[in-house]
């Protein structure tokens, strides 16, 4: 945790602007937060004062027939999801809730969700990333200016897309004050095929077969040690189908036929299916102890099993694979050696990694993200200076 001594929580956007203006004038760094639910992510911020968006709450626009919702940044995600639920709609990126993973009960805010660009199992669909569903933002830059990018319509290529730049920038380029998101109808029914597989390579082959089928698979995950919820002990591949209830038996039957060569196939339906995917979404099967570290690697799916094997061999990693096998969650000892093994595995697979959660000594000491190539690192410095000339927004959050 960063050692913040003073917490600012203005009641409105103008208050955020004033706080940034004052901090820029005094060159006082600010830790940018919603409710701090992901304070433990990446590196500790080097700031004595925090600036929070908790005062900015409320849904400002919701048009179900246009599949669009705007909310102030500090609005809890749960509140928005409850409202969408009443209209049989949902946030299409299936944003995870990492309260359990970080060991607290603070709710995540919609602004924090966009600032960290964390997507759930539906990421594997086209346009499935959270940032793909950000239609518009309002933000306060380090210049203490309010800017908007995007808007409230689904198709918009007007000007440079600063929504994409701000999504996933972890508060280092601007403070989101309001976001507008694309919605999806909530599927009527959910069904999961559980395939018991011999090993991870067979598991990823099953997931690839499912994702390469014409049946609209909306989730493809792999549990290397089974799942207590299902009474499974060995590796299990999960494929999710969602649509009108009357469509699912046919599709499940066809898939089952195609996949039976890989292992026995069981069906999990409705609430049990939803609960299973919530667990995958929130990486709960990792069951990491508080003193352990958690990494998140993204690689080409067919490289997932090799990455997993390397991490098991290096430090006995406990694993969870999502996104067809391409997203590898790993939990293990918070040591330099384990981190070095993760970096090496990501590099060997041509992919990327994040040190997602770790005790302060480790996450302060190591690169929590891969180094960027020199020409890009130089552009990144210029972009940072263009958005935050005094370097006051979340210093040290992403890189040391």
């Amino acid at each position: 945790m960063s050692a913040t001594t003073e917490a600012l929580a203005p009641a409105d956007e103008a208050g955020i602007v004033e706080a940034v203006r004052a901090a820029a004038a005094a060159r006082t760094p600010l830790a940018i937060e919603g409710r701090g639910s992901k304070r433990g992510m990446l590196r500790p911020v080097q700031a004595g004062r925090s600036l929070s968006t908790t005062g900015l709450t409320g849904i400002t626009l919701y048009k179900p027939a246009e599949l669009v919702l705007s909310a102030r940044a500090g609005t809890p995600v749960a509140e928005i999801e409850a409202e969408l639920d009443r209209h049989n709609q949902m946030l299409a990126a299936e944003p995870p809730d990492f309260a359990a993973l970080f060991g607290h009960d603070r709710p995540s805010t919609i602004g924090g969700m966009v600032a960290t660009n964390l997507s759930g199992p539906r990421r594997i669909g086209a346009g499935g990333a959270l940032r793909d569903q950000v239609l518009g933002v309002r933000a306060v830059t380090g210049h203490a200016e309010v800017i908007r990018s995007g808007g409230r319509v689904h198709k918009n290529v007007t000007g440079l897309d600063l929504c994409k730049l701000l999504a996933g920038s972890h508060g280092t380029l601007g403070i989101l004050t309001e976001v507008t998101l694309k919605l999806q109808p909530r599927p009527e029914a959910s069904l999961t095929l559980v395939i018991r597989v011999a090993d991870l390579a067979a598991g990823v082959a099953v997931l690839s077969a499912g994702l390469g089928s014409p049946f609209g698979v909306s989730g493809a995950a792999l549990l290397p040690r089974g799942e207590a919820m299902l009474g499974l002990e060995g590796p299990a591949a999960l494929l999710r189908l969602e649509d009108l209830a009357q469509f699912l038996p046919h599709r499940a039957g066809r898939l089952r036929q195609e996949l039976s060569a890989f292992g026995s196939v069981e069906l999990v339906e409705d609430e049990a299916s939803r609960a299973l995917w919530h667990a995958v979404r929130d990486a709960r099967p990792l069951a990491a102890a508080p003193e352990e570290a958690i990494w998140r690697l993204s690689v080409r799916p067919s490289a997932g099993p090799d990455v997993a094997r390397r991490l098991e061999e290096a430090f006995g990693a406990r694993l969870l694979l999502d996104w067809g096998g391409g997203l590898v969650w790993a939990a293990g000892p918070a040591t330099d050696a384990a981190h070095a093994a993760v970096m090496a595995a990501a590099r060997a697979a041509g992919g990327t990694f994040t040190l997602f959660r770790a005790p302060d000594p480790l996450r302060s000491a190591v690169p929590v993200l891969p180094e960027e190539p020199a020409p890009l690192a130089m552009i990144a410095q210029r972009v940072k200076a263009a958005m935050d000339p005094e370097g006051i927004l979340n210093p040290g959050r992403m890189r040391g």
Partner: protein
């Protein structure tokens, strides 16, 4: 006519030396097409899909490798020469319009498909591969590349990335940005950087997302890794015609509100229906004020269920006609008129401007009423085609390019429509890009602070403003183009 910056006389004076230098950087192919300096051959590059604007460049280079692109960019930066990236030249916003003192870097000779991987569902292609070329390379195995702009036969994936192209099917599959994994990016300094890769989500800033749709302002893309998707079992369309635009608008709301997301949901107004029917004889109802084409995907049984539900919804709104395709051939017939819409309008008018604003879908009846009033005031006909599910409106304004007054009026009419789109909560461009066409309207949508912030990002990539200058941002306020106009 739009203002372009004054050519740099020092660059024009060095024309021969620049051509000689470019010849050392880009190899000729068997037909000598590596570097073009001959004024007659340069005319082929003087315009793009927005043919009202023309300006031959200083030179054109057609490289075949990333290294050649990098070498040309490095040379141009060192010598202060402006650069215009170009794909197939199908931009409808003048995105590839040259400047007299600029070197056009055309990507059409970089047209190889480098890798297709079905297990990991991606393809790596050079930037000059056509949009449809990608789908054709994988369709025999049941896969496709989802974004499908109308120009997909000709337009190139590098241009699609630069404009973040959409198409009729992005309601379900999203636009270009949502269907990419990585690009090979060349900076103005001539540095080659891999952004993204074969995996989802980069750690760190989302450069891929920022570059997509940047209209050549930040750098060039020479290779693209796209996601390929398994196609659905089948698709079928239906046609529904109504007595008023308002009614068709309500039907769109009712469909989306019902929880069905069709793969395509296209709207045509009366003039568009008539133009397309005269051209294609698709059997469109000529007594209708508004028509919807709705397409669904899935197995034959699933299509039946979805089309049945859609028919029920449409039936609640007193339709003039409802026609559900029973076969793929009947679907094609329904699409035939819509797909030929641009040609159809070209047949009844010597020239037309295709506008591209987006509006909140609920504003459609109001916006069409206002466009009708403008049409009367300007004395110019307009046909409206609308991607109704996502709010992207394409009014086709008909005029006569041989009559300067007619062209001036068409431009003013178009500007008024786009201002209206912004006024009702939409934007200037949904998929064609700002280019030169909408550059001077940017202050309608953005505040001065917002434009300044976007310019700062541009400057972070391209400090001397050599990359595709005079596009996207109004000329005033651009330090590097201060000598302009």
């Amino acid at each position: 006519m739009i203002d372009l910056p004054k050519p740099n006389p020092a660059v024009l004076a060095r024309r021969d030396a620049i051509l000689a230098a470019l010849h050392t950087l880009v190899l000729d192919g068997p037909f000598g097409q590596g570097v073009i300096g001959d004024p007659h051959r340069l005319r082929a590059y003087e315009t793009d899909g927005l043919s009202a604007y023309r300006q031959p460049p200083l030179a054109v280079v057609l490289p075949t490798t990333t290294e050649e692109v990098a070498a040309v960019l490095r040379y141009c930066r060192q010598n202060g020469i402006r650069v215009i990236p170009r794909g197939a030249g199908t931009s409808l916003s003048g995105g590839a319009l040259p400047l007299a003192d600029a070197v056009v870097i055309g990507l059409m000779r970089m047209n190889r498909i480098l890798e297709v991987n079905y297990a990991d569902r991606y393809a790596v292609v050079e930037a000059g591969v056509t949009n449809l070329g990608i789908t054709q390379a994988v369709s025999a195995d049941g896969f496709f590349y989802a974004p499908d702009p109308s120009s997909q036969l000709a337009c190139m994936i590098g241009g699609n990335v630069m404009m973040n192209s959409g198409g009729a099917h992005c309601l379900k599959y999203g636009v270009t940005a949502g269907n990419l994994l990585g690009v090979k990016f060349v900076t103005i300094e001539g540095e080659v950087v891999e952004i993204g890769g074969q995996h989802l989500d980069a750690a760190g800033y989302d450069w891929l997302g920022l570059i997509t749709g940047s209209e050549g302002q930040l750098g060039m893309v020479t290779e693209v890794t796209v996601r390929i998707l398994r196609a659905a079992e089948g698709a079928r369309a239906m046609l529904a015609a109504f007595r008023a635009n308002e009614v068709a608008g309500q039907v769109v709301d009712a469909i989306i509100g019902s929880g069905i997301i069709p793969v395509a949901l296209e709207f045509m107004d009366r003039p568009a229906i008539h133009a397309c029917e005269a051209f294609a004889q698709a059997g469109y109802p000529l007594d209708a004020e508004a028509m919807l084409i709705i397409e669904v995907e899935g197995s034959t049984e699933e299509q039946d269920v979805l089309l049945g539900r859609l028919k029920e919804i449409c039936a609640r709104f007193d339709p003039i006609s409802l026609r559900v395709a029973e076969t793929p051939e009947e679907s094609l017939a329904i699409w035939k008129g819509r797909k030929g819409a641009f040609g159809a309008v070209g047949r009844i008018s010597p020239d037309y401007l295709c506008m591209d604003g987006t509006i909140p879908t609920g504003e459609l009846p109001h916006v069409l009423r206002r466009i009708g009033e403008m049409s009367d005031n300007y004395g110019l006909l307009v046909a409206n085609i609308f991607h109704a599910g996502d709010g992207n409106l394409h009014p086709l304004i008909m005029f006569d390019a041989n009559d300067p007054e007619s062209f001036r009026k068409a431009e003013a009419f178009g500007a008024d429509i786009l201002k209206l789109c912004v006024e009702v909560g939409g934007c200037l461009t949904g998929e064609h890009g700002v280019g030169v066409e909408k550059r001077d309207l940017m202050p309608v949508q953005f505040t001065a602070a917002e434009l300044t912030q976007q310019r700062r990002i541009k400057s972070a990539f391209d400090p001397q403003w050599l990359l595709n200058p005079a596009k996207v941002f109004p000329l005033e306020g651009n330090p590097a183009l201060a000598s302009a106009a």
